[in-house]
């Protein structure tokens, strides 16, 4: 297969089991059971599932924070799980659910935006961390140049999430993992952030892995979707197809339970 047709991110047969020691025998939690996903460049893949479905473990493994027991994760065709391999810092970035805990309240927005550049080569760090680059990025996510001197605790939840998004984009990543980025926000602010993510994806040619329990939000942002249950991908495909004609029982249950304005 030519390199340009290969998925940007390929997850293959990932296994991960957590063992907790308990009286009367160890307790095993299967967080990933032969999980396979392919994310093409330019895709937005929604990963949906309930608590305990293995969403977070999958994110942690993609981000290199957790090692799979078996299986492989390849980014641009290179294995991330192979021994001796290094994580492609800056090329894969993450935005967390709650900007109150993901941003240091004592740091100015400028230093928050420069921090992810620390691991990059010096020349690249200078280029991306230049004042005009930061101002431009701040403007793209809807912040004002004056905001760079303020500290994150001075901002509202929606603005903090804009800062967290800018912080992810400052390294010019190809892939952004969004872990429930709007779950802590009000509906009116959530719509602002979802539209922003959509615009940024287009303008910066980003690929998203969007983890959420909110099916309507996934429907809005993602062209592909994978449904996780008990560590397994029970259904995957184009979002419009999966949502209009779900084939798996669990997907059907999930869709039926989702509140709608109906």
């Amino acid at each position: 297969m030519p390199a340009d047709e290969e998925p940007l991110l390929q997850v293959e047969n990932l296994d991960k089991t957590f063992v907790t020691r308990r009286r009367g025998g160890d307790h095993r939690t299967v967080a990933a059971d032969k999980v396979s996903l392919a994310v093409k460049a330019g895709d937005a893949l929604g990963v949906v599932g309930e608590s305990g479905s293995g969403k977070t473990t999958l994110v942690n493994m993609i981000m290199g924070l957790e090692r799979p027991d078996a299986g492989d994760i390849r980014f641009r065709g290179r294995s991330l799980t192979a021994r001796g391999g290094s994580f492609p810092y800056g090329e894969i970035q993450i935005v967390f659910q709650d900007p109150r805990s993901s941003l240091d309240p004592r740091m100015t927005v400028r230093s928050l935006l420069r921090e992810p550049l620390t691991n990059l080569p010096k020349a690249r760090r200078r280029e991306l961390g230049a004042e005009e680059k930061l101002r431009e990025l701040a403007g793209r996510v809807g912040l004002l140049p004056g905001h760079l001197d303020r500290r994150s605790h001075e901002f509202s939840g929606g603005q903090r999430q804009r800062i967290a998004i800018a912080r992810a984009l400052v390294t010019r990543p190809a892939l952004v993992v969004l872990d429930e980025p709007t779950s802590a926000l009000d509906v009116s602010i959530q719509a602002q952030i979802l539209n922003l993510l959509r615009d940024l994806q287009r303008d910066y040619q980003l690929t998203y892995v969007f983890v959420s329990h909110n099916l309507a939000v996934v429907r809005h942002l993602c062209n592909e979707v994978a449904v996780l249950a008990a560590g397994q991908v029970v259904e995957a495909g184009a979002t419009s197809e999966v949502f209009s004609a779900p084939r798996d029982d669990y997907t059907r249950t999930l869709l039926a339970a989702a509140p709608s304005l109906g």
Partner: protein, 330 residues
């Protein structure tokens, strides 16, 4: 208006918090009425005052930091404003039940489910120690907990989030309240569990003829459960009506924007966010509270809009529906 005593009658309630810099208004002229047996939604975003409103029904806010500027909250004909502390204590639990967003914080981590239920049962029903355990099991059974005879001896940490919320509901039901206040009770839960809890609340309301004030930021959840909805924005009820009126024909520009901002399962199109953010309660504009963010703002909006009767039971506080009055006001 019916002849019945309303289960909840909030009349013209204005409430402020004391702060070092003076009084901060949190609720302004809020009126909410709930008929016996009716499930009513109170919808608002963060900072709208919806939780303050629900806590004030049982006067659970710290009394030395709250000033009731005007109005009253009446539960089953009993005024909570003039009630003594002793009367309030009696009202809580027996007339007003409460369930909150995070069940773990409502439960004691150091007591078994049965022991916590027993405290409530002896408080509200008296009775012998022996009968109490049977009553606790029956209470768990009523909230559809499987194997209640096992769960009764378990601690909250041994239960899932959905089970814990069922236990909290069982606790709230012990005093057989006529009014249940549910403040975001399903926000921390998965959608399938949320669905079950909503069905349970509906069933309990039906079985006990209990009224429910369901407080939520989620218009979709509210529309699935409630017959009528009150929309709260920055401490004011800006629209009220039946769920159908509010969802199908929202009148106030804020409600319309809220409906348009909600991602839907059946469509992927662009969302219409509401520009800006809600006002700082310390620095609220004169006139219409939504005017600074409103796409349809016009001259009269510098003055407080009257609440207009649009249709049977459908009211909105907006000058768009009061053009004649707007003309007179100028």
């Amino acid at each position: 208006m019916t002849q019945n005593t309303l289960a909840l009658d909030v009349k013209d309630l204005s409430l402020s918090f004391r702060s070092r810099t003076g009084r901060v208004p949190v609720l302004r002229n809020v009126s909410i009425d709930i008929e016996p047996g009716e499930i009513v939604g109170l919808v608002g975003e963060s900072g709208s005052g919806k939780s303050v409103m629900s806590l004030q029904v049982a006067r659970l806010l710290p009394e030395d930091s709250v000033v009731v500027e005007s109005g009253d909250v009446t539960v089953n004909g009993i005024s909570t404003r003039s009630a003594t502390l002793r009367q309030m204590t009696k009202l809580r639990g027996s007339q007003i039940g409460f369930i909150f967003q995070e069940p773990m914080t409502a439960l004691s981590p150091t007591m078994t489910v049965g022991k916590q239920l027993a405290l409530a049962i002896r408080r509200h029903r008296g009775g012998s120690r022996r009968g109490v355990r049977e009553q606790a099991i029956a209470a768990l059974d009523e909230v559809r907990i499987k194997n209640p005879d096992i769960v009764v001896d378990q601690y909250p940490f041994e239960l899932s989030g959905g089970m814990r919320q069922r236990v909290v509901i069982a606790l709230a039901m012990v005093g057989d309240p006529s009014l249940l206040i549910a403040d975001e009770p399903t926000t921390a839960l998965d959608v399938t569990v949320q669905d079950e809890i909503l069905k349970l609340i509906r069933q309990l309301a039906l079985d006990h003829g209990m009224s429910v004030l369901f407080v939520s930021h989620d218009l979709a959840v509210v529309s699935n459960l409630c017959r009528r909805v009150f929309v709260l924005y920055a401490g004011e009820v800006i629209e009220r009506g039946t769920t159908r009126q509010i969802i199908d024909a929202p009148a106030h520009p804020y409600t319309r924007a809220l409906v348009a901002a909600l991602p839907r399962l059946d469509a992927a199109g662009d969302l219409s966010p509401i520009p800006g953010e809600p006002p700082d309660p310390r620095n609220v504009v004169e006139g219409c509270i939504f005017a600074p963010r409103c796409p349809q703002r016009f001259d009269p909006c510098d003055l407080k809009p009257p609440t207009m009767d649009l249709q049977r039971g459908h009211h909105a506080a907006c000058w768009l529906y009061a053009r004649e009055e707007a003309h007179d006001a100028r």
